[in-house]
Symmetry: D2
Subunit: 362 residues, 4 copies
Amino acid sequence: MSSNSFGKLFTVTTFGESHGPAIGGVVDGCPPGLPLEPAMFLHDLERRATGRSRHTSQRHEADEVEILSGVYEGRTTGTPIALLIRNTDARSKDYAAIAQTFRPGHADYTYWHKYGIRDPRGGGRASARETTVRVAAGVIAKAWLARRHGVRVRGYLAQLGELVPKGFDWEAVEQNPFFWPHAAQVPELERYMDALRKSGDSVGARVNVVAEGVPPGWGEPVYGKLDAELAAALMSINAVKGVEIGDGFAAVGQRGSEHRDELQMDGFTSNHAGGILGGISTGQPILASAAFKPTSSILIPGRSVDMEGHAVDVVTKGRHDPCVGIRATPIVEAMVALVLMDQALRHRAQCADVGDMAPRIA
Amino acid sequence: MSSNSFGKLFTVTTFGESHGPAIGGVVDGCPPGLPLEPAMFLHDLERRATGRSRHTSQRHEADEVEILSGVYEGRTTGTPIALLIRNTDARSKDYAAIAQTFRPGHADYTYWHKYGIRDPRGGGRASARETTVRVAAGVIAKAWLARRHGVRVRGYLAQLGELVPKGFDWEAVEQNPFFWPHAAQVPELERYMDALRKSGDSVGARVNVVAEGVPPGWGEPVYGKLDAELAAALMSINAVKGVEIGDGFAAVGQRGSEHRDELQMDGFTSNHAGGILGGISTGQPILASAAFKPTSSILIPGRSVDMEGHAVDVVTKGRHDPCVGIRATPIVEAMVALVLMDQALRHRAQCADVGDMAPRIA
Amino acid sequence: MSSNSFGKLFTVTTFGESHGPAIGGVVDGCPPGLPLEPAMFLHDLERRATGRSRHTSQRHEADEVEILSGVYEGRTTGTPIALLIRNTDARSKDYAAIAQTFRPGHADYTYWHKYGIRDPRGGGRASARETTVRVAAGVIAKAWLARRHGVRVRGYLAQLGELVPKGFDWEAVEQNPFFWPHAAQVPELERYMDALRKSGDSVGARVNVVAEGVPPGWGEPVYGKLDAELAAALMSINAVKGVEIGDGFAAVGQRGSEHRDELQMDGFTSNHAGGILGGISTGQPILASAAFKPTSSILIPGRSVDMEGHAVDVVTKGRHDPCVGIRATPIVEAMVALVLMDQALRHRAQCADVGDMAPRIA
Amino acid sequence: MSSNSFGKLFTVTTFGESHGPAIGGVVDGCPPGLPLEPAMFLHDLERRATGRSRHTSQRHEADEVEILSGVYEGRTTGTPIALLIRNTDARSKDYAAIAQTFRPGHADYTYWHKYGIRDPRGGGRASARETTVRVAAGVIAKAWLARRHGVRVRGYLAQLGELVPKGFDWEAVEQNPFFWPHAAQVPELERYMDALRKSGDSVGARVNVVAEGVPPGWGEPVYGKLDAELAAALMSINAVKGVEIGDGFAAVGQRGSEHRDELQMDGFTSNHAGGILGGISTGQPILASAAFKPTSSILIPGRSVDMEGHAVDVVTKGRHDPCVGIRATPIVEAMVALVLMDQALRHRAQCADVGDMAPRIA
């Protein structure tokens, strides 16, 4: 598979630069018969979009999805589904100044070394604009997972800089621009972000995702483990520097008697494993977490070099997020959904003949 | 690619169960002309082996590698290299008791759900015995990386339960059975492990790996990013629950002005990124870290159910590691080497024509 | 890789239905720096297009290629190149009559069985309209092969029904609407096709392709052999029923002393092998041939059944080619170019270190 | 996937050189629960083996298959099945003479150019000995196809040099060493082969294969078409120069009214298509055919060059088949079975939800 494609049987190929004419993708391997129409993309694209609050980038993209193929009379046909999203609010002149230099913390330097040429406008292919297509593809995966298996994939912001939630309520998550699970803290977050923006700096974040309803058996040992593919999926998102499944790094300090999840007739007694053992789902909720680094595009000058090898100071103007993790929640959900759908299809390919042979645990 | 294969151009396919007749693998895509002989496997297999100190499992495997193909007169020929390792010290009777039950924290339950059948002897395919083949394949990758690119991949134990290194010295790492980078702490670690073993419990660990000499440009955006593939590689190792690149989760609490690595004429001023930006290597050392959960095979009884659905207590006898993370260092190194070699080959496929066009930074 | 993608390192993913809003594709893995602009697609798309003579379908498509990504300031950047072609002359009403029935010799019946749903308009995804994108992707491959390796890929019509060329001249091929290599026969071909069209019937054809300038060494044994991939590439073209490399089926009746190509100091003495031995190119011209069946869409009624299971007679109206093989020459060339470029990239990934060690033969 | 692997979900990876210590392979993706034991390999390996009559090579290999993994208590477990076959009758000294030269018609020249190194003993990796593993893997695929879907895959020799069958009887095929479908001609074939052997020359052959019981719906448009994958599978077999599906090249001279298979209530009226339309199976028997070139290893001297670039005469001693096509029948069957099983698994991954919606035709 090429490196702009993701997934083995449910394969998403994306294309497009931040300031090119369009971004888009081809979703291949979707089973036939799934109801699909453009309106279905609106909710998650809106959740991911910039410009919806003062706490994110002020670029305003229409994010209108045109379905070019693979759907007939409102249902998928089993043929590739092409999605096209025109770029409508690119301001490439913001980037003229940095075309000859390398912004610290950005992919400018590495793209140049790899390819010897790069599209400097808005970060080109390395821009988080590409994740719009992931979210759109994730909408298809979420729809199939929900309809066929009753799976629900939901995420929330679990840390913003030093701040952590002091309570948890799924209801709250969708009612504030931070995907924060505790409503009472929202004013505090707003003040925190306002101060950050004024300082011209940025901050990191942690996003947690929970997938409920995944049956036991999904995941392919030993290199296509469900957790290994989730790790790749989340680490492939721009700015992610760490991934955890279940207890993650906290497991380092735990004892085996504490970490291992015991089984009783009515189910597991705990979920330290995050719903995955030996790379295969246990039937418990899948728990994954991603660490987002602070945005490198900040107003505080940074030292760098230009393409002639001279020392320069870089100030990143453009329109940027002071915390990329905020809008990342739907992206993380989408990547988890893509992995789950792919594994679901792979599972039935190989294991369709296996009945329910193990004792069911609630 | 099937899920028992790893890598796109340098592809390793492994096979074998813990207590089956043999384990082994096929290494496909190794360039021709690389010197290779069985003795080259000894060092890393010895480092990974059980039974070398009282702090690991007491299973004694010969781990003798037979090269079945792909090498002619001491050099690789470009054809697939098959490696065979006979199992010589399997004690399957230890497992008779658990053939009808599901050990908590193990893959027994999930394999049964997925496949409807499982080889219970020694954990079958889910056993860490499989990682022997990864280490052997990693030897080939390390040899090619060193010879062709001067790359060196080294790991060490960065945390054992609550204990963290109080100093750092690469020399120390290979001189104690823990791969611990600070010699003065070794007696403390021995006492810690002795006490743990007596308690019948186990503990988690963190392994860090550093790859030096990787040139800028390796890694394929956007789904074949170097960090994404490292994440999958490390998370695919038995018992790993978390992966970090560079600062990892610490980045969540950082500011952009702190995290971003600035560039000067003599190089980067820091390496928070862990040597990867936009999924592509920067030329700095690659830094990766993996969290290992505490072994689930402990002497303390755990609650479970059997295949008839009755509640049972499980005590895992067999011969197990009280801390799987200890022997994991060469496994982590091997997986990093496999990813790097694969990316190196992919890089020259697409970018062989790109000269050294960017300003070199020391 | 998904089944709407072709190629391992130079990967082409196509999408689109004959009468949907658009067709297109994503070309991933093209090395950076290749000059590319929309005008480069005109020549080959014009050669493949319908409606250029009375001997092909009278559908008139603009076949205007929009490059959506992967090109910056006239050069490829190494990121995915998305190509979009809007459908402009679809007459779906022609197909209303056959929405409930299965045209003999078409994919209607099989798509319905596979997917349970199908887009009946113009054959949907099974239409040869999809090959437009193959030709566009082939333009990129041809350009790279020519520029980087001096490779030239050319095809011609080698048989039309019972007619075979009575002479051979590359110059003639591009000067008649049949890609026929002997100019003197063109009037005969025109009469032949006129008579065929009047009869409401169709006829088969054979297309030969020659790739010159391929260096020795391309092709990967044993399942990625150059000839095996050419066979898959050509057989994947609509209506192809047979593929030959070199002497092909004629080799069945040959003796070894006749077939094997001997080597002398100034090169091979013959090319029965078609430029491939053991799945690897020899340095001689690559010779491949494809058999096209006669179009199934003819005016002569055919017996079939409808979706309710009743017997019906089918007359295919629409606008169809009386010989699909005629326009197939650029499609065959494109597929050969895609295979060669992919193998060229794969070769340098694995064998870049191999110098010119074998004795050169002119 | 690497080029020593075949298949997307049912993946066979082979390894081994003709005169190395062993050949073998890893079969990954076999569904769990299939009965499998070493004795099941005997029949097809015996059919493929050399030395069973005077008309094939006189190398006598035991071809004993050791199952190293993936089977527990006589059933597949869903984990990779490793197969090992030791080489027991390699006579490498026969090849000393040709280590420095390139045999005409062989892969010596091309392997040398590609890899810069080659194992000259017995043709190394390019030897047809590799096909032993294909046949073994094919046994697994045939067993699953028969048990799960009632599919039967059978082949026969359809042409030997100039000779064609004058009658057809499946019973006859397995009762003569030629897989010839007309018993009365066997004495003629024996005389033909005896004369050929005496002349020191070799001859080509055609093998046909028929797969019965394949349900409609297998095959993935547009690049994973069933016929495209069959073409790759057959063309990947040593010495194959052409592949046909259904009428193959005969379709070139046919009219559409003749070629298209009409449908009636009791089924198709003909099978010119060979059971495949639009790349998807129709439910009719799959018909495929492969052309084998005459062996290049003959006693008649051939001109060549050596590695120093001097002109030489080559006489191939060793032990060779005067017609490789004779023993190829089980190899062709195996490759067809591998393709069908892979497509069957892929079909149920994507289309498991599709019921029997189309009108059934007997």
